[in-house]
């Protein structure tokens, strides 16, 4: 059992494992292999790894070329440069014809920490969610990251896997199911449902635990797939709990909170609170300090849940 690991390391190791099983797999990077951890793959399969230098747009189109030629390309860089700088290449060269290209992008969200706001991506899910047919996985721990890589390889079409930088605790097990588009209920509860994704899962579980001291019974659901979103689960939980709090390490504009709100609108009378980056840019600091300042912690989740329940 792995207790602690960075998702980017889990991603690099999963690529190696997949590489042994699928000889069509090729991995592309843009001079960040030592940060995205695709260097683990490059060491194992040097002739199946391609570095394109600091030129993300070209790497993304090259990945499209590899897919046109029948290979299975995974490309990596930071989430901001991949989905931001590379947005239109992903849209027109890949997504537009549902090309079989996967991208695992690391250093997503606030947890990039010290590198600061220029490198912290809060808009990547929003950008990718607007693309028809795009699958988006946001794994919460190393086990889920590995499963996301293998699930992506099974899907015929573009898949974005959002990978984080910091070392995190495992919150799932190797046996936990990972079905694309199917959210995992990690904790049952009837007073409020905390719908979280990625690194926020562990904070959501801690918050649910703390809420028991206030006699509040919180459910926790892990949305490892943001698109297609498990709408049935959203409506079931909203119906049974009557209150929903979403938590994500991403802007509340366009991410999980927006996706949940879109499903709830007109379909349920349940109340909704969205925790995430509140239409702001990031800044330098230690990840944990930044999480506290931006309200991405169990204390804020507890407070938001409590407040929502106290409102009639």
């Amino acid at each position: 059992m792995i207790k602690k690991q960075s998702l980017r390391v889990a991603y690099g190791e999963a690529l190696v494992e997949l590489g042994h099983k699928n000889d069509r797999l090729v991995v592309l990077d843009a001079d960040l292999a030592h940060a995205t951890m695709t260097n683990i793959f490059a060491t194992e399969f040097p002739d199946r790894f391609f570095n394109f230098g600091i030129a993300e747009a070209n790497m993304i189109c090259a990945a499209a070329g590899f897919a046109h030629a029948g290979l299975l390309p995974f490309f990596s860089t930071f989430a901001l440069f991949g989905t931001g700088r590379g947005y239109e290449m992903i849209r027109n060269s890949i997504s537009y014809i549902q090309l079989n290209v996967k991208f695992g992008l690391s250093h997503s969200g606030l947890s990039v920490g010290e590198d600061g706001g220029s490198h912290q991506s809060f808009e990547d899910i929003s950008l990718m969610r607007g693309l028809p047919g795009m699958t988006i996985f946001v794994p919460c721990d190393p086990y889920e990251t590995r499963k996301a890589v293998f699930a992506a390889a099974q899907i015929d079409g573009p898949v974005y896997i959002r990978v984080g930088r910091p070392i995190v605790d495992t919150v799932t097990t190797p046996e936990t199911p990972f079905i694309p588009g199917k959210a995992n209920v990690m904790r049952e509860g009837g007073d409020v449902c905390i719908m979280a994704t990625g690194l926020m899962i562990s904070y959501a579980l801690a918050a649910a635990e703390q809420l028991t001291a206030r006699n509040i019974n919180a459910a926790v659901v892990n949305f490892h797939t943001i698109k297609p979103l498990d709408a049935e689960c959203v409506l079931n939980m909203a119906g049974s709990c009557g209150r929903v709090v979403t938590v994500e390490e991403h802007s509340v504009i366009g991410g999980l909170g927006s996706a949940v709100a879109e499903v709830m609108a007109g379909n349920t009378g349940a109340k909704l609170r969205r925790i995430g980056i509140q239409d702001k840019f990031g800044k330098s600091g230690k990840p944990e300090d930044l999480f506290n300042e931006y309200g991405l912690n169990s204390e804020n989740i507890v407070n938001q849940c409590t407040e929502l329940i106290s409102r009639i």
Binding site: A55, N58, C61, A62, G65, N92, Y96
Partner: protein, 273 residues
């Protein structure tokens, strides 16, 4: 191999189809379509290994029209090669037509790569060439770019990678007509000595008359080892229709009826053909 004379005839008929297509749909890009006709003829009739009966043949050469707005020329050539019926041409850009405003590889038989957003086709073609080498396949990849397109940074990212990976199965063909939407290259954004630029990036470079099919063919067939090839084809935008020739205003404008009739008359094509 088709003879030069029959290809000259073909060029005239392809130009007729381009003009008729644009007139019928009242939409599209005549200037850059008319300028790249001979480039396409050299590729499709003399150079590339293709099988119109089997458009997805694994070992086919790949032709990527990176300047995707010139697709009327491509569509007319694909019809002549037998990829799909000629009557499809008169549904260009219409709803439910497989002939989109810019090439769509998921819809049109014979189109290898979806293009239109400039720079991307050249870069994707580079990726295919690299993939071919990785797979030890011996097909070649040809990317046709426009001169205005070289203003895209992505063109130079792709050029750098092609030379870095020594892709001698990769050829970039420039349709150098000197004009773009807003005016001449020199007015809009000077591209200066484009051949020297590609040379500096590590390409083996050639200059050729872009309306001479045999000359283009000869250059495309010249073997180059250990580096990618760049072929600068000097062309005239709107070539073949005197009032469109070298007029940037005809970049993306469909002919009115009188212009259509004049153009077809000049090309010597019966409009009922």
């Amino acid at each position: 191999m088709d003879t030069q004379q029959s290809l000259t005839e073909k060029a005239r008929h392809i130009r007729g189809d381009i003009v008729k297509m644009l007139y019928t749909s009242q939409s599209g890009h005549p200037g850059g379509s008319l300028s790249c006709v001979e480039i396409l003829l050299a590729l499709y009739y003399q150079v590339a290994n293709l099988d119109p009966q089997n458009p997805k043949m694994e070992n086919r050469d790949r032709i990527v029209l990176s300047k995707g707005h010139a697709c009327p020329a491509l569509y007319a050539v694909l019809v002549d090669k037998g990829y799909f019926p000629r009557s499809d041409l008169w549904r260009l850009r219409q709803i439910d037509s497989h002939l989109q405003g810019h090439p769509d590889s998921s819809k049109t038989p014979g189109v290898d790569v979806n293009t239109g957003s400039l720079g991307q086709g050249m870069s994707i073609a580079m990726g295919i060439a690299l993939a071919a080498r990785h797979k030890k396949a011996d097909y070649r990849v040809f990317a046709i770019i426009g001169d205005g397109e070289t203003q895209e940074g992505l063109v130079w990212e792709a050029a750098m990678a092609a030379a870095h990976y020594k892709l001698d199965n990769y050829t970039v063909i420039l349709d150098y007509n000197g004009l773009q939407i807003d005016g001449s290259n020199d007015e809009v954004m000077r591209i200066r000595d484009i051949v020297k630029k590609f040379e500096a990036f590590g390409f083996e470079c050639f200059k050729v008359d872009g309306h001479d099919v045999d000359a283009i063919t000869q250059v495309l067939q010249k073997p180059v080892e250990g580096k990618p090839k760049f072929v600068c084809c000097r062309t005239a935008k709107g070539r073949g229709v005197s009032f469109m020739e070298n007029q940037f205003g005809w970049h993306g404008k469909a002919p009115a009826e009188i212009e259509y009739l004049d153009a077809m008359k000049e090309l010597g094509i019966d409009i009922n053909d």
